[in-house]
């Protein structure tokens, strides 16, 4: 990299089932306006605009990003990599800045799925129409297929899934932007209706809409201002078919090879060799508890077979990183935006601007992204210290 990159400003709308008081363009405007204000940057000083919107059918509007024209006259690109749309968009902006093509990049992501009557029918259309789409493959069943595999291979129980979700809901109570503000105990979650065994309704993420924006800047723009420095960021892809990822020596379907590889690169860039001790906060792209469990070994926090014990240890071992202080995607999942929200939340933690959800003494925070049937993974390390 030719220059270091930092996040100067963060803007978010709240996340909820519907924002009936705002059109799609107005949601984007609100997040962007807040990010520019937070960064104390004028829109005229932005060099490039990058927009993240995942499947258009979730909103029932095509290319909605162009309806909120931000900074007309500047280059604009739209990015869609499914669940990692938000982080891919942030990384594209960071790459513009790192390469010297831009001094200030404005990135935003919008989810407008509140306009859809049902999301699972739309999500079925992301699967291959030739071999897969005839089956009830959806985001929920995809997660359930992995959850049952994790239970068989590593001994997770429905109780573990419920306890992860309960912790996320509890954290969300301190995040005014979260969609779900309910103190749900593991018992409440296990008592909620089954959607697809072993997934209960209250373990599944909600359908949320909202927008997020970040202002990314080069080292010379940042000067001696406070910034959340991007100490390392990497994205990795994997084979398309889930069935192709069962029998391979480098990792099964639940080993999240793409996240392992992204973590390896980003940790190396950020100088992390003991993530369990060096990370203070981890914001995970985990719309389901099983999705969270899959990340632990991929992030180097525990061995896969120790995963269930690691879930239990989180409640007592305070030296471990804090997971999802925002509540994570189980408390708000604006799909296109979710992976950028993770980065935004880590930036707020590092900048000590996270309000009631602020964790003490955060020097380093990690944000993950997961997309396309875990075909895509991203990892971003943010720190309060300027990278060397």
């Amino acid at each position: 990299m030719s220059t270091r990159v930092g996040i100067l400003g963060v803007g978010q709308t709240s996340y909820r089932r519907h924002h009936a008081d705002k059109s799609s363009a107005e949601l984007i405007f609100e997040a962007v306006e807040a990010a520019l204000r937070d960064a104390d940057v004028d829109v005229a000083d932005v060099d490039v605009v990058l927009a993240g919107v995942a499947p258009d059918a979730l909103a029932g509007e095509n290319s909605v990003e162009r309806t909120a024209m931000i900074g007309a006259g500047k280059p604009l690109l739209r990015i869609n990599t499914g669940g990692v749309t938000g982080s891919s968009t942030a990384f594209a902006g960071a790459s513009y800045v790192a390469s010297g093509r831009a001094r200030i990049a404005l990135v935003f992501a919008l989810e407008r799925m509140g306009q859809a009557t049902t999301s699972q029918q739309v999500f079925n259309t992301i699967f291959d129409p030739v071999y897969e789409k005839d089956f009830p493959l959806t985001t929920i069943t995809m997660a359930a297929l992995r959850a049952s595999m994790l239970m068989r291979m590593y001994g997770y129980t429905e109780r573990h899934w419920a306890s992860i979700a309960s912790r996320n809901y509890r954290n969300a109570l301190r995040n005014p932007l979260a969609h779900i503000h309910r103190d749900l105990s593991p018992e409440d979650i296990l008592a909620s209706p089954l959607l697809a065994w072993p997934i209960h309704r209250f373990e599944a993420c909600p359908m949320s809409e909202g927008a997020v924006a970040l202002v990314l800047a080069s080292e010379d723009v940042i000067g001696d201002r406070d910034a959340a420095w991007m100490q390392g960021f990497a994205s990795r892809s994997d084979a398309y078919a889930m069935g192709d990822r069962f029998h391979r020596p480098e990792g099964t379907l639940v080993d999240l090879l793409s996240l392992q590889l992204a973590a390896k690169q980003a940790y190396a860039d950020a100088g992390i060799d003991d993530p369990r001790r060096q990370l203070d906060v981890v914001e995970l792209y985990s719309p389901f508890s099983s999705a969270e469990a899959m990340t632990y070994p991929a992030l180097g926090l525990t061995e896969a077979h120790d995963g269930p014990a690691f879930v239990e240890a989180q409640e007592v071992d305070l030296s471990l990183p804090r997971f999802n202080p925002s509540g994570g995607p189980q408390a708000a999942n604006p799909v296109s935006a979710t992976a950028m929200v993770r980065i935004a939340e880590c930036a707020l933690q590092v900048l000590e601007r996270a309000g009631d959800r602020q964790v003490e003494d955060v020097r380093r925070a990690v944000a993950t992204g997961q997309g396309g049937a875990t075909q895509f993974s991203t990892l971003c390390v943010l720190g309060s210290d300027r990278p060397e």
Partner: protein, 156 residues
């Protein structure tokens, strides 16, 4: 100040018709289902895996596949879910969705498990967690579609 009743909503509907092109490789795979009631894979000359269902290329090795290989008719259940909630446009529950690796294949294949009373969800889950053997069950008049067959648990 705007109140909720002042906010306008406008009804919308996306309903488009499409014709999906399966391509030569999947067309042959479907013809084998329809005419011979058999499941075929293609072998990657580089990693030597037999990819099922048949693929024109291996996306792990970035190379074209070679030989066609018949797999099954039995295999091992890899993972599953018992779908218990109804969603618009998707089949009525309970439905058991699973991945199974057919004998001779190096990849798992998604399909439904049929011939199983899944109304006892916990009991079904417990049984399927033991990774039973499965076998292909073809419909009487295959249409040349992936839905021409399903998995059934091998008894005994």
């Amino acid at each position: 100040m705007t109140t909720a009743s002042d906010l306008i909503t406008i009804k919308g509907n996306w309903s488009f018709d499409y014709t999906y092109f399966a391509g030569e490789t999947a067309s042959r795979f479907f013809k084998e289902l329809r005419e011979h009631k058999r499941v075929m894979g293609t072998r990657c000359p580089s990693c030597e895996r037999v990819l099922v269902p048949a693929r024109a290329f291996c996306d792990a090795c970035f190379c074209r596949t070679g030989d066609w290989v018949e797999v099954g008719p039995q295999g091992v259940l890899e993972t599953f879910t018992v779908i218990t909630a109804a969603f618009p446009g998707l089949p009525e529950p309970p439905v058991v969705l699973a991945y199974a690796t057919l004998d001779g294949a190096d990849t798992a294949l998604v399909n439904l498990i049929t011939g199983l009373d899944a109304s006892d969800v916990a009991g079904t889950a417990e049984r399927l967690m033991a990774q039973p053997r499965v076998e292909l069950r073809f419909i009487d008049e295959p249409q040349g579609r992936i839905t021409d067959f399903s998995f059934e648990i091998v008894q005994g």
